[in-house]
Amino acid sequence: MELLSGGEATIRALRDSGVRYLWGYPGGAALHIYDALFRQDDVKHILMRHEQGATHAADGYARATGEVGAVLVTSGPGATNAITGIATAYMDSIPLVVISGQVPQEKIGGDAFQETDMIGVSRPIVKHSFMIRRAEDVAETIAKAFYIARSGRPGPVVVDIPKDVTDPNYKVPYRYPDKIRIRSYQPSTKGHSGQIRRAVKVLLEARRPVIYAGGGIILGNAADQLTRLARQLNFPVTNTLMGLGGYPGSDRQFVGMLGMHGTFEANTAMHHADVILAVGVRFDDRVTNTPDRFCPGAQIIHIDVDPSSISKNVPADIPIVGACDAVLDEMIEQIETAGERPDPAALAEWWQQIDEWRRRHGLYTAPRHEPSVGTLIKPQDAVRALYKVTAGKAYITSDVGQHQMFAAQYYLFDKPRQWFNSGGLGTMGYGLPAAMGVQMAFPGADVACVTGEGSIQMCIQELSACTQHQLPVKIINLNNQALGMVKQWQDMQYGSRYSQILYEDSLPDFVKLAEAYGHVGLRVEHIDELEDKLRECFSYKDRVVFVDIQVDPHEHVYPMHVSPGSMRDLWLSKTERT
């Protein structure tokens, strides 16, 4: 058996866990590991400019590929800088393994230089964490960390490694375990057949059904099954913000995103439904509006791999614990075997009603914003132009704010793992580093980060890492000169008292800034040049392009839930509500 130091074993175990890219930032407590990294070629390290960027990039890579994202940081500030990225991954159930260096064991607890209790600090935002105390335990612990991160409901796992454990002079036999067994952790896979049978019966009797599908469809690789089931039953499908792309966005049966900024037709259909098939969702408050007014007449079937998600916010009538793909497969099979279909006349009537809602207030049939006046660019039109120019094929990441909602509403995602955003935690600064991870996963593909002048400045330092690692992402900056979503809330709820949302002429010249990093910068101020400039942007295949689009500073995102209220209670414009 080969003898390796703890540091060498760390890198070897990452390799043996399938890691190709490791996103990170070196520092004192991690130096033995970084030295081991230097002496091998299997794992490629991507030096970011901030540990938050490293976690977001690994997260983007994980979402794009379905693999576990890997991060290496040092102790203290390295570890705490990674926290926002870990919390982002935790809220969206993204598999990450974050290795953090730690001060030597004999110094732990002594307030040593760059010491932070990483296990303690990260505890509420990890799926699990380990501190490795002996070089002998490195391989097995890392193998366990990867297994936990990717299985069941995925999530981030922190592995804290004190520096003495990675001592290059202490070598131990290296063995990567063939199989991981954890007696207290056996995530369920198959659903309960009896429950599935009950659910199928309810689905076949439904007259006003809606399929409400979320991020679990994407994480659980169940988009094919979802599409097959929806077509088999001819049911309308809505996706959550996290589930976009889980069902083809341009398909007739897709009624758009639901929730706070979801479409009128999706929210209204949910409210009037008699059966809701909820798959891989968690009844988030941004979806349900006021929970006790949620879908009053509906029987709720809830499929989720995590039992604690079921009946957490809204009680489920038929809970099914299991992996989405396996459960949907069994449903499709049971329906096929039964040879039955829901009442076609009832469904035809339901579809007629939905189409009528679409015609009346649909986002795509009757746009929810006033047309661009003169040369002013509406942010919605910028996203629509992006959709057109990229033929709907680009991978889109986003930050947090109005631009995120416009991207979710107006870019129709036809496949899973095409749309990436921090839906749960709502992390400004996610978009650019995540785009780098996505670009690493799909070299040569068009990857665009739809962002705003607020969010982009939260991780803008990664423009430098883009240069170093040749990640030619495109930045589509919807620049409305203000923190737009906050401004919208201040307009709607605080009498337009704009508290701390303006920059008072302090915004950088983004074109020059991009150029300073060696990138291409483009400024778009007139609606007439919008499409051409976007085309120019995507013509630079090997360059990062920063497109600074000056958009209408007064625009709001609609529809928007009236809160408190039910799902159908919506603002449709600044003056119109349901």
Binding site: G120, R123, R183, S184, S308, S311
Partner: protein
């Protein structure tokens, strides 16, 4: 209502803090908590009491199960069970009070386990209500210190909580 949860968890560093953290993070309350290793040194047994309705206790149980270190969770209040709590009480005891305190201790089947010139340390085990009643029964006796272990519980009969 009052619930008693029995939790079997890996005897690993940090396992206890994950359980306690879960309660504070999710806004659940803990009334008492005891934890110690079992006959199997790799496992710890925890007994935890909380005031929760049915819905909340279901959520707590699910969240506990979700912790990787948690092996088994059971709600003892669902079935027949025995619960005990140990209490140590230090009281002022001099003059006439000495005999009076001794009498009350005997009635409650407690033991005086330390005798000082002007104080006793009393040991008493039982259900929590009995311990409360004892404190009450001490009446005007000056209580200097009360230490309670928190509830430990076990199911009646042959059923056992094992890994």
């Amino acid at each position: 209502m009052r619930r008693i949860l029995s939790v079997l968890l890996e005897n690993e560093p940090g396992a206890l803090s994950r359980v306690v953290g879960l309660f504070s993070q999710r806004g659940y309350n803990i009334d008492s908590l005891t934890v110690a290793p079992t006959e199997d040194a790799t496992l710890s047994r925890m007994t935890l009491t909380t005031q929760s309705d049915d819905l909340t206790i279901e959520k707590i149980t699910k969240q506990l199960h979700k912790l990787i270190d948690v092996v088994k969770v059971t709600d003892l209040t669902d079935g027949l069970h025995i619960e005990r709590e140990l209490m140590l009480v230090k009281v002022k005891a001099s003059g006439d009070a000495r005999a009076e305190v001794k009498r009350v201790v005997d009635i409650f089947r407690g033991q005086i386990i330390d005798v000082g010139s002007a104080s006793y340390v009393i040991q008493l085990a039982g259900v929590s209500a009995k311990l409360d009643a004892f404190i009450e029964a001490l009446g005007e006796t000056a209580v200097l210190e009360v230490v309670r272990s928190g509830v430990s519980g076990i199911m009646r009969g042959e059923r056992a909580l094992r890994a």
